[in-house]
Symmetry: C2
Subunit: 265 residues, 2 copies
Protein backbone atom coordinates (compact mmCIF):
# COMPACT_ATOMS: atom_id res chain seq x y z
CA UNK A 1 0.00 0.00 0.00
CA UNK A 2 0.98 3.65 -0.32
CA UNK A 3 1.78 5.52 2.88
CA UNK A 4 2.47 9.22 3.38
CA UNK A 5 4.60 10.04 6.41
CA UNK A 6 4.39 13.66 7.54
CA UNK A 7 7.01 14.51 10.16
CA UNK A 8 7.78 17.63 12.15
CA UNK A 9 10.86 17.80 14.33
CA UNK A 10 13.83 20.11 13.80
CA UNK A 11 16.54 17.58 14.72
CA UNK A 12 17.06 14.33 12.78
CA UNK A 13 19.28 13.01 15.60
CA UNK A 14 16.43 13.20 18.12
CA UNK A 15 14.20 10.54 19.62
CA UNK A 16 11.55 11.68 17.13
CA UNK A 17 14.01 11.38 14.29
CA UNK A 18 15.05 7.87 15.33
CA UNK A 19 11.43 6.81 15.71
CA UNK A 20 10.58 8.20 12.28
CA UNK A 21 13.52 6.44 10.60
CA UNK A 22 12.56 3.20 12.29
CA UNK A 23 8.90 3.48 11.29
CA UNK A 24 9.63 4.27 7.66
CA UNK A 25 12.11 1.40 7.45
CA UNK A 26 9.59 -0.95 9.02
CA UNK A 27 6.85 0.09 6.61
CA UNK A 28 9.12 -0.39 3.60
CA UNK A 29 10.28 -3.80 4.79
CA UNK A 30 6.61 -4.74 5.04
CA UNK A 31 6.26 -3.93 1.35
CA UNK A 32 4.63 -0.53 1.53
CA UNK A 33 5.68 2.42 -0.62
CA UNK A 34 6.34 5.46 1.57
CA UNK A 35 6.33 9.12 0.64
CA UNK A 36 8.02 11.24 3.31
CA UNK A 37 7.23 14.88 4.03
CA UNK A 38 9.89 15.85 6.55
CA UNK A 39 8.70 19.41 7.07
CA UNK A 40 11.80 20.91 8.67
CA UNK A 41 14.09 19.16 6.17
CA UNK A 42 11.90 20.44 3.31
CA UNK A 43 12.02 23.97 4.75
CA UNK A 44 8.23 23.91 4.59
CA UNK A 45 6.68 27.40 4.55
CA UNK A 46 4.61 27.53 7.72
CA UNK A 47 2.52 30.62 7.20
CA UNK A 48 -0.51 30.83 4.97
CA UNK A 49 -0.52 34.03 2.94
CA UNK A 50 -1.28 35.59 -0.44
CA UNK A 51 1.93 34.13 -1.92
CA UNK A 52 0.31 30.68 -1.79
CA UNK A 53 -1.41 31.49 -5.07
CA UNK A 54 0.41 32.26 -8.31
CA UNK A 55 -2.80 33.71 -9.74
CA UNK A 56 -3.68 37.35 -10.30
CA UNK A 57 -3.52 39.36 -7.08
CA UNK A 58 -6.84 40.35 -5.62
CA UNK A 59 -7.11 43.72 -3.91
CA UNK A 60 -7.91 42.23 -0.57
CA UNK A 61 -6.64 38.84 0.53
CA UNK A 62 -9.46 36.52 1.61
CA UNK A 63 -7.80 33.23 2.66
CA UNK A 64 -10.74 30.95 1.81
CA UNK A 65 -11.60 32.70 -1.46
CA UNK A 66 -7.98 32.82 -2.59
CA UNK A 67 -7.56 29.14 -1.77
CA UNK A 68 -10.71 28.27 -3.73
CA UNK A 69 -9.62 30.20 -6.79
CA UNK A 70 -6.11 28.82 -6.68
CA UNK A 71 -7.35 25.24 -6.31
CA UNK A 72 -9.89 25.56 -9.13
CA UNK A 73 -7.58 27.34 -11.56
CA UNK A 74 -4.29 25.56 -10.99
CA UNK A 75 -2.76 28.61 -9.34
CA UNK A 76 -1.61 26.88 -6.17
CA UNK A 77 2.06 27.20 -5.34
CA UNK A 78 3.99 24.06 -6.30
CA UNK A 79 4.72 22.95 -2.74
CA UNK A 80 1.01 22.85 -1.91
CA UNK A 81 0.03 20.96 -5.07
CA UNK A 82 2.80 18.42 -4.47
CA UNK A 83 1.52 17.62 -0.98
CA UNK A 84 -2.02 17.25 -2.28
CA UNK A 85 -0.73 14.76 -4.87
CA UNK A 86 0.91 12.77 -2.07
CA UNK A 87 -2.38 12.77 -0.18
CA UNK A 88 -4.32 11.65 -3.25
CA UNK A 89 -2.12 8.65 -3.83
CA UNK A 90 -1.86 7.66 -0.16
CA UNK A 91 -3.88 4.81 1.31
CA UNK A 92 -2.79 5.87 4.80
CA UNK A 93 -1.15 8.95 6.26
CA UNK A 94 0.94 9.08 9.43
CA UNK A 95 1.57 12.37 11.21
CA UNK A 96 4.43 12.29 13.71
CA UNK A 97 5.31 15.19 15.98
CA UNK A 98 6.25 16.15 19.53
CA UNK A 99 3.36 17.71 21.44
CA UNK A 100 4.36 21.36 21.84
CA UNK A 101 1.98 23.45 23.94
CA UNK A 102 -0.73 20.83 23.61
CA UNK A 103 -0.79 20.81 19.82
CA UNK A 104 1.39 20.12 16.79
CA UNK A 105 4.42 22.28 15.96
CA UNK A 106 3.61 25.46 14.04
CA UNK A 107 5.33 24.14 10.91
CA UNK A 108 2.87 21.23 10.76
CA UNK A 109 -0.11 23.44 11.56
CA UNK A 110 0.93 25.47 8.56
CA UNK A 111 1.03 22.31 6.46
CA UNK A 112 -2.66 21.73 7.21
CA UNK A 113 -3.59 25.37 6.66
CA UNK A 114 -1.93 25.51 3.25
CA UNK A 115 -2.42 21.98 1.88
CA UNK A 116 -6.03 21.73 3.04
CA UNK A 117 -7.34 23.94 0.25
CA UNK A 118 -10.93 25.09 -0.21
CA UNK A 119 -12.47 22.53 -2.56
CA UNK A 120 -9.95 19.91 -1.52
CA UNK A 121 -10.36 19.50 2.25
CA UNK A 122 -13.16 21.94 3.03
CA UNK A 123 -15.88 23.62 1.03
CA UNK A 124 -16.54 20.19 -0.53
CA UNK A 125 -20.06 19.10 -1.51
CA UNK A 126 -23.45 20.77 -1.36
CA UNK A 127 -23.90 23.53 1.20
CA UNK A 128 -27.56 24.26 1.85
CA UNK A 129 -30.15 24.07 4.63
CA UNK A 130 -30.34 20.34 3.96
CA UNK A 131 -26.66 19.56 3.65
CA UNK A 132 -23.62 21.23 5.18
CA UNK A 133 -21.06 19.85 2.80
CA UNK A 134 -19.27 16.52 2.64
CA UNK A 135 -17.28 16.49 5.83
CA UNK A 136 -16.73 14.60 9.07
CA UNK A 137 -16.38 11.18 7.51
CA UNK A 138 -17.01 12.21 3.92
CA UNK A 139 -14.95 14.30 1.52
CA UNK A 140 -11.98 13.90 -0.76
CA UNK A 141 -9.92 11.94 1.74
CA UNK A 142 -12.64 9.40 2.60
CA UNK A 143 -11.47 5.81 2.39
CA UNK A 144 -7.96 6.71 3.56
CA UNK A 145 -6.61 6.04 7.02
CA UNK A 146 -4.72 8.41 9.28
CA UNK A 147 -2.80 7.89 12.50
CA UNK A 148 -0.92 10.22 14.84
CA UNK A 149 2.40 9.35 16.44
CA UNK A 150 2.89 11.80 19.30
CA UNK A 151 5.61 12.21 21.91
CA UNK A 152 5.15 14.18 25.13
CA UNK A 153 7.49 15.33 27.84
CA UNK A 154 4.81 14.86 30.49
CA UNK A 155 3.76 11.64 32.13
CA UNK A 156 0.84 9.47 31.08
CA UNK A 157 -0.96 10.33 34.35
CA UNK A 158 -0.83 14.04 33.46
CA UNK A 159 -2.96 13.19 30.39
CA UNK A 160 -5.30 10.72 32.12
CA UNK A 161 -9.03 11.18 32.72
CA UNK A 162 -8.35 13.42 35.75
CA UNK A 163 -4.86 14.52 34.78
CA UNK A 164 -3.99 18.21 34.87
CA UNK A 165 -3.34 18.58 31.13
CA UNK A 166 -6.67 17.03 30.23
CA UNK A 167 -7.26 13.55 28.79
CA UNK A 168 -5.06 12.92 25.78
CA UNK A 169 -8.10 11.94 23.67
CA UNK A 170 -9.56 15.39 24.32
CA UNK A 171 -6.25 17.19 23.78
CA UNK A 172 -5.99 15.49 20.38
CA UNK A 173 -9.69 15.81 19.44
CA UNK A 174 -9.27 19.09 17.52
CA UNK A 175 -6.63 17.30 15.42
CA UNK A 176 -8.08 13.81 15.10
CA UNK A 177 -11.69 14.90 14.64
CA UNK A 178 -11.30 18.47 13.39
CA UNK A 179 -8.39 18.01 11.00
CA UNK A 180 -8.46 14.31 10.07
CA UNK A 181 -12.04 13.05 10.29
CA UNK A 182 -13.23 16.37 8.81
CA UNK A 183 -11.98 15.80 5.23
CA UNK A 184 -12.89 12.12 5.40
CA UNK A 185 -10.07 10.15 7.02
CA UNK A 186 -10.73 7.06 9.09
CA UNK A 187 -8.67 7.89 12.17
CA UNK A 188 -6.86 5.15 14.06
CA UNK A 189 -6.11 5.46 17.76
CA UNK A 190 -2.87 7.41 18.21
CA UNK A 191 0.50 5.91 19.08
CA UNK A 192 1.60 7.80 22.18
CA UNK A 193 5.02 7.94 23.72
CA UNK A 194 4.99 9.76 27.06
CA UNK A 195 7.93 11.14 29.04
CA UNK A 196 10.06 11.21 25.93
CA UNK A 197 12.90 12.95 27.76
CA UNK A 198 13.49 9.83 29.85
CA UNK A 199 14.38 7.17 27.35
CA UNK A 200 16.99 4.43 27.63
CA UNK A 201 17.83 1.71 25.13
CA UNK A 202 15.65 -0.94 26.78
CA UNK A 203 12.60 1.26 26.83
CA UNK A 204 13.21 2.51 23.31
CA UNK A 205 13.40 -1.09 22.07
CA UNK A 206 10.05 -1.79 23.72
CA UNK A 207 8.51 1.36 22.24
CA UNK A 208 9.78 0.44 18.77
CA UNK A 209 8.23 -3.01 19.11
CA UNK A 210 4.92 -1.49 20.19
CA UNK A 211 5.04 0.87 17.23
CA UNK A 212 5.84 -2.00 14.85
CA UNK A 213 2.68 -3.73 15.99
CA UNK A 214 0.66 -0.60 15.25
CA UNK A 215 2.26 -0.22 11.83
CA UNK A 216 1.55 -3.87 11.04
CA UNK A 217 -2.16 -3.27 11.70
CA UNK A 218 -2.34 0.10 9.94
CA UNK A 219 -4.77 -1.29 7.38
CA UNK A 220 -6.71 -3.65 9.63
CA UNK A 221 -7.14 -1.92 13.00
CA UNK A 222 -10.55 -0.49 13.86
CA UNK A 223 -10.74 3.30 13.49
CA UNK A 224 -12.09 5.60 16.21
CA UNK A 225 -15.87 5.54 15.58
CA UNK A 226 -16.31 9.29 15.10
CA UNK A 227 -19.86 9.99 13.98
CA UNK A 228 -20.46 10.92 10.34
CA UNK A 229 -21.98 14.36 9.85
CA UNK A 230 -24.41 13.13 7.20
CA UNK A 231 -25.12 9.73 8.77
CA UNK A 232 -28.31 10.80 10.53
CA UNK A 233 -26.91 11.63 13.97
CA UNK A 234 -26.98 15.42 13.53
CA UNK A 235 -29.67 18.00 12.88
CA UNK A 236 -28.78 20.10 9.84
CA UNK A 237 -27.94 22.98 9.61
CA UNK A 238 -27.65 23.44 13.41
CA UNK A 239 -25.25 20.48 13.40
CA UNK A 240 -26.09 19.48 16.93
CA UNK A 241 -26.58 15.85 17.92
CA UNK A 242 -30.21 14.80 17.51
CA UNK A 243 -32.02 14.41 20.82
CA UNK A 244 -32.24 10.65 20.42
CA UNK A 245 -28.50 10.29 19.96
CA UNK A 246 -26.50 9.85 23.17
CA UNK A 247 -29.17 11.70 25.16
CA UNK A 248 -27.70 13.93 27.83
CA UNK A 249 -24.14 13.49 26.58
CA UNK A 250 -22.11 16.54 25.63
CA UNK A 251 -18.53 17.45 24.88
CA UNK A 252 -16.02 15.80 22.57
CA UNK A 253 -16.80 12.22 23.64
CA UNK A 254 -20.40 12.53 22.43
CA UNK A 255 -19.08 12.55 18.86
CA UNK A 256 -17.63 9.09 19.21
CA UNK A 257 -20.32 6.49 18.61
CA UNK A 258 -20.88 4.04 21.41
CA UNK A 259 -21.37 0.67 19.69
CA UNK A 260 -23.61 -0.54 22.56
CA UNK A 261 -25.82 2.57 22.43
CA UNK A 262 -26.00 2.37 18.65
CA UNK A 263 -27.93 -0.85 18.89
CA UNK A 264 -30.54 0.86 21.04
CA UNK A 265 -31.06 3.96 18.88
Amino acid sequence: MQVLYVFAHPEPRSLNGALKDHAIDHLRRAGHAVDVSDLYAMDWKARLDAADSTGPAAGRFDPAQASKLAYENGWQSADIAAEQDKLRRADAVIFQFPLWWFSMPAIMKGWFERVYAYGFAYGVGEHSDQRWGDRYGEGNLAGKRAMLIVTTGGWESHYSARGINGPIDDVLFPIQHGMLHYPGFDVLPPFLLYRAGRMDEARFAAERAALDQRLDTLFTATPIPFRRQNGGDYDIPALTLRDAIAPGAHGFAAHVADPAADVAT
Copy 2:
Protein backbone atom coordinates in the same frame (compact mmCIF):
# COMPACT_ATOMS: atom_id res chain seq x y z
CA MET B 1 -2.58 50.10 32.25
CA GLN B 2 -0.26 48.42 29.76
CA VAL B 3 -1.84 46.08 27.21
CA LEU B 4 -0.12 43.82 24.69
CA TYR B 5 -2.22 43.02 21.62
CA VAL B 6 -1.06 39.97 19.67
CA PHE B 7 -2.80 39.65 16.32
CA ALA B 8 -2.65 37.07 13.55
CA HIS B 9 -4.47 37.67 10.29
CA PRO B 10 -2.80 38.12 6.90
CA GLU B 11 -5.12 40.89 5.63
CA PRO B 12 -5.42 44.26 7.38
CA ARG B 13 -8.57 45.05 5.36
CA SER B 14 -10.41 42.04 6.81
CA LEU B 15 -13.07 41.75 9.48
CA ASN B 16 -10.31 40.71 11.85
CA GLY B 17 -8.24 43.71 10.86
CA ALA B 18 -11.15 46.09 11.40
CA LEU B 19 -11.93 44.52 14.76
CA LYS B 20 -8.29 44.80 15.82
CA ASP B 21 -8.05 48.47 14.80
CA HIS B 22 -11.27 49.20 16.65
CA ALA B 23 -10.15 47.41 19.81
CA ILE B 24 -6.75 49.10 19.95
CA ASP B 25 -8.32 52.48 19.38
CA HIS B 26 -10.86 51.82 22.12
CA LEU B 27 -8.19 50.73 24.59
CA ARG B 28 -6.08 53.83 23.88
CA ARG B 29 -9.07 56.15 24.24
CA ALA B 30 -9.69 54.54 27.62
CA GLY B 31 -6.19 55.61 28.62
CA HIS B 32 -4.30 52.35 28.26
CA ALA B 33 -0.90 52.08 26.61
CA VAL B 34 -0.97 49.39 23.92
CA ASP B 35 1.90 47.43 22.41
CA VAL B 36 0.87 45.71 19.19
CA SER B 37 2.41 42.54 17.84
CA ASP B 38 0.81 42.18 14.42
CA LEU B 39 2.49 38.92 13.49
CA TYR B 40 1.93 38.95 9.72
CA ALA B 41 2.88 42.61 9.48
CA MET B 42 6.04 41.93 11.51
CA ASP B 43 6.89 38.98 9.24
CA TRP B 44 7.13 36.92 12.42
CA LYS B 45 9.22 33.74 12.01
CA ALA B 46 6.78 30.93 12.66
CA ARG B 47 9.07 27.95 13.04
CA LEU B 48 11.12 27.16 16.09
CA ASP B 49 14.62 26.04 15.14
CA ALA B 50 18.30 26.23 16.04
CA ALA B 51 18.56 29.75 14.59
CA ASP B 52 16.53 31.02 17.55
CA SER B 53 19.75 31.11 19.57
CA THR B 54 22.75 33.22 18.70
CA GLY B 55 24.87 31.12 21.07
CA PRO B 56 27.48 28.50 20.16
CA ALA B 57 26.00 25.70 18.05
CA ALA B 58 25.49 22.42 19.86
CA GLY B 59 26.04 19.23 17.88
CA ARG B 60 22.49 18.11 18.25
CA PHE B 61 19.58 20.54 18.53
CA ASP B 62 17.48 19.90 21.63
CA PRO B 63 14.66 22.51 21.56
CA ALA B 64 14.16 22.74 25.35
CA GLN B 65 17.86 22.67 26.20
CA ALA B 66 18.72 25.23 23.52
CA SER B 67 15.92 27.50 24.72
CA LYS B 68 17.14 27.21 28.33
CA LEU B 69 20.71 28.06 27.44
CA ALA B 70 19.70 30.94 25.20
CA TYR B 71 17.39 32.39 27.85
CA GLU B 72 19.96 32.09 30.63
CA ASN B 73 22.88 33.44 28.62
CA GLY B 74 21.27 36.21 26.62
CA TRP B 75 21.62 34.29 23.38
CA GLN B 76 17.99 34.55 22.33
CA SER B 77 17.36 36.05 18.91
CA ALA B 78 16.28 39.68 19.16
CA ASP B 79 12.69 39.10 18.02
CA ILE B 80 12.10 36.63 20.84
CA ALA B 81 13.62 38.84 23.54
CA ALA B 82 11.56 41.81 22.33
CA GLU B 83 8.31 39.90 22.70
CA GLN B 84 9.29 38.74 26.18
CA ASP B 85 9.91 42.37 27.13
CA LYS B 86 6.44 43.24 25.90
CA LEU B 87 5.00 40.43 28.01
CA ARG B 88 6.95 41.55 31.09
CA ARG B 89 5.61 45.08 30.94
CA ALA B 90 2.03 44.07 30.07
CA ASP B 91 -0.74 44.07 32.65
CA ALA B 92 -3.02 42.29 30.19
CA VAL B 93 -2.51 40.50 26.89
CA ILE B 94 -5.09 40.06 24.16
CA PHE B 95 -4.68 37.42 21.48
CA GLN B 96 -6.88 37.87 18.42
CA PHE B 97 -7.09 35.38 15.59
CA PRO B 98 -9.48 33.56 13.26
CA LEU B 99 -10.02 29.93 14.29
CA TRP B 100 -8.30 27.92 11.55
CA TRP B 101 -8.71 24.17 11.84
CA PHE B 102 -9.85 24.47 15.43
CA SER B 103 -6.78 26.31 16.65
CA MET B 104 -4.78 29.49 16.14
CA PRO B 105 -2.97 30.24 12.86
CA ALA B 106 0.46 28.62 12.56
CA ILE B 107 2.19 32.00 12.75
CA MET B 108 0.74 32.58 16.24
CA LYS B 109 1.46 29.00 17.35
CA GLY B 110 5.06 29.74 16.42
CA TRP B 111 4.94 32.91 18.53
CA PHE B 112 4.14 30.80 21.59
CA GLU B 113 6.71 28.13 20.74
CA ARG B 114 9.51 30.65 20.37
CA VAL B 115 8.63 33.38 22.92
CA TYR B 116 7.67 30.88 25.62
CA ALA B 117 11.27 30.03 26.47
CA TYR B 118 12.44 27.45 28.97
CA GLY B 119 12.94 29.37 32.20
CA PHE B 120 10.50 32.05 31.10
CA ALA B 121 7.19 30.25 30.48
CA TYR B 122 8.06 26.66 31.36
CA GLY B 123 10.77 24.94 33.37
CA VAL B 124 10.08 27.58 36.04
CA GLY B 125 10.41 26.77 39.76
CA GLU B 126 11.36 23.63 41.65
CA HIS B 127 10.87 20.32 39.88
CA SER B 128 10.92 17.42 42.31
CA ASP B 129 8.64 14.69 43.67
CA GLN B 130 7.02 17.35 45.87
CA ARG B 131 6.69 20.11 43.32
CA TRP B 132 6.30 20.04 39.57
CA GLY B 133 7.35 23.58 38.88
CA ASP B 134 5.48 26.87 39.11
CA ARG B 135 2.80 26.49 36.51
CA TYR B 136 -0.96 26.47 35.99
CA GLY B 137 -1.69 29.66 37.88
CA GLU B 138 1.88 30.39 38.96
CA GLY B 139 4.95 31.37 37.01
CA ASN B 140 6.49 34.45 35.47
CA LEU B 141 3.23 35.70 33.99
CA ALA B 142 1.18 35.37 37.17
CA GLY B 143 -0.77 38.50 38.05
CA LYS B 144 -1.31 39.36 34.39
CA ARG B 145 -4.58 38.90 32.55
CA ALA B 146 -5.15 37.32 29.15
CA MET B 147 -8.15 37.19 26.84
CA LEU B 148 -8.78 35.61 23.46
CA ILE B 149 -10.72 37.31 20.66
CA VAL B 150 -11.66 34.58 18.19
CA THR B 151 -13.67 34.60 14.98
CA THR B 152 -15.15 31.47 13.41
CA GLY B 153 -16.78 30.72 10.09
CA GLY B 154 -19.12 28.19 11.71
CA TRP B 155 -22.30 28.91 13.64
CA GLU B 156 -22.56 29.16 17.40
CA SER B 157 -24.66 25.97 17.47
CA HIS B 158 -21.81 24.05 15.83
CA TYR B 159 -19.72 24.89 18.90
CA SER B 160 -22.45 24.29 21.48
CA ALA B 161 -22.54 21.55 24.14
CA ARG B 162 -23.77 19.01 21.57
CA GLY B 163 -22.46 20.76 18.46
CA ILE B 164 -20.44 18.81 15.92
CA ASN B 165 -17.21 20.77 16.36
CA GLY B 166 -17.24 20.30 20.11
CA PRO B 167 -18.04 22.94 22.74
CA ILE B 168 -16.01 26.10 22.18
CA ASP B 169 -14.74 26.02 25.78
CA ASP B 170 -13.24 22.61 25.08
CA VAL B 171 -11.88 23.60 21.67
CA LEU B 172 -10.09 26.53 23.32
CA PHE B 173 -9.01 24.66 26.47
CA PRO B 174 -5.56 23.68 25.12
CA ILE B 175 -4.97 27.40 24.49
CA GLN B 176 -6.67 29.01 27.48
CA HIS B 177 -5.53 26.44 30.03
CA GLY B 178 -2.46 24.91 28.36
CA MET B 179 -0.89 28.07 26.94
CA LEU B 180 -2.25 30.92 29.08
CA HIS B 181 -3.04 29.56 32.55
CA TYR B 182 0.14 27.44 32.36
CA PRO B 183 2.69 30.28 32.71
CA GLY B 184 0.46 32.07 35.21
CA PHE B 185 -2.09 34.22 33.36
CA ASP B 186 -5.53 34.85 34.78
CA VAL B 187 -7.65 33.98 31.75
CA LEU B 188 -10.84 35.89 31.02
CA PRO B 189 -13.72 34.30 29.13
CA PRO B 190 -13.08 34.69 25.39
CA PHE B 191 -14.78 37.17 23.10
CA LEU B 192 -16.27 35.05 20.33
CA LEU B 193 -17.57 36.18 16.99
CA TYR B 194 -19.28 33.34 15.10
CA ARG B 195 -20.21 33.17 11.42
CA ALA B 196 -17.69 35.84 10.60
CA GLY B 197 -18.28 35.45 6.87
CA ARG B 198 -21.82 36.78 7.27
CA MET B 199 -21.34 40.28 8.61
CA ASP B 200 -23.25 43.45 7.72
CA GLU B 201 -22.80 46.93 9.14
CA ALA B 202 -25.59 46.62 11.71
CA ARG B 203 -24.25 43.38 13.12
CA PHE B 204 -20.67 44.64 13.07
CA ALA B 205 -21.74 47.71 15.06
CA ALA B 206 -23.38 45.45 17.64
CA GLU B 207 -20.29 43.23 17.81
CA ARG B 208 -18.04 46.26 18.29
CA ALA B 209 -20.24 47.46 21.14
CA ALA B 210 -20.12 44.04 22.78
CA LEU B 211 -16.35 44.00 22.43
CA ASP B 212 -16.09 47.51 23.90
CA GLN B 213 -17.90 46.26 26.98
CA ARG B 214 -15.41 43.40 27.33
CA LEU B 215 -12.46 45.75 26.89
CA ASP B 216 -13.90 48.12 29.50
CA THR B 217 -13.94 45.26 32.02
CA LEU B 218 -10.56 43.81 31.08
CA PHE B 219 -9.16 44.59 34.52
CA THR B 220 -12.29 43.91 36.57
CA ALA B 221 -14.04 40.88 35.04
CA THR B 222 -13.79 37.55 36.86
CA PRO B 223 -11.31 35.15 35.27
CA ILE B 224 -12.15 31.54 34.42
CA PRO B 225 -11.53 29.72 37.73
CA PHE B 226 -8.96 27.23 36.42
CA ARG B 227 -7.50 25.28 39.32
CA ARG B 228 -3.97 26.10 40.45
CA GLN B 229 -1.54 23.20 40.17
CA ASN B 230 0.01 23.90 43.56
CA GLY B 231 -3.19 24.96 45.31
CA GLY B 232 -3.88 21.57 46.87
CA ASP B 233 -6.28 20.14 44.25
CA TYR B 234 -3.73 17.83 42.61
CA ASP B 235 -1.61 14.91 43.73
CA ILE B 236 2.04 15.54 42.90
CA PRO B 237 3.86 14.24 40.88
CA ALA B 238 1.02 12.25 39.27
CA LEU B 239 -0.78 15.58 38.74
CA THR B 240 -4.21 14.02 38.84
CA LEU B 241 -7.09 15.62 40.71
CA ARG B 242 -7.21 14.43 44.31
CA ASP B 243 -10.08 12.02 44.97
CA ALA B 244 -11.90 14.55 47.12
CA ILE B 245 -11.87 17.17 44.37
CA ALA B 246 -14.82 17.05 41.99
CA PRO B 247 -15.29 13.33 42.63
CA GLY B 248 -16.24 11.41 39.52
CA ALA B 249 -15.61 14.35 37.22
CA HIS B 250 -13.17 13.97 34.36
CA GLY B 251 -12.17 15.82 31.23
CA PHE B 252 -11.32 19.47 30.70
CA ALA B 253 -14.22 20.84 32.76
CA ALA B 254 -12.92 19.15 35.92
CA HIS B 255 -10.03 21.65 35.92
CA VAL B 256 -12.38 24.58 36.32
CA ALA B 257 -13.26 25.03 39.98
CA ASP B 258 -16.94 24.92 40.77
CA PRO B 259 -17.52 27.66 43.36
CA ALA B 260 -20.45 25.74 44.88
CA ALA B 261 -18.44 22.52 45.22
CA ASP B 262 -15.48 24.42 46.63
CA VAL B 263 -17.48 25.29 49.68
CA ALA B 264 -18.12 21.62 50.34
CA THR B 265 -14.52 20.40 49.92
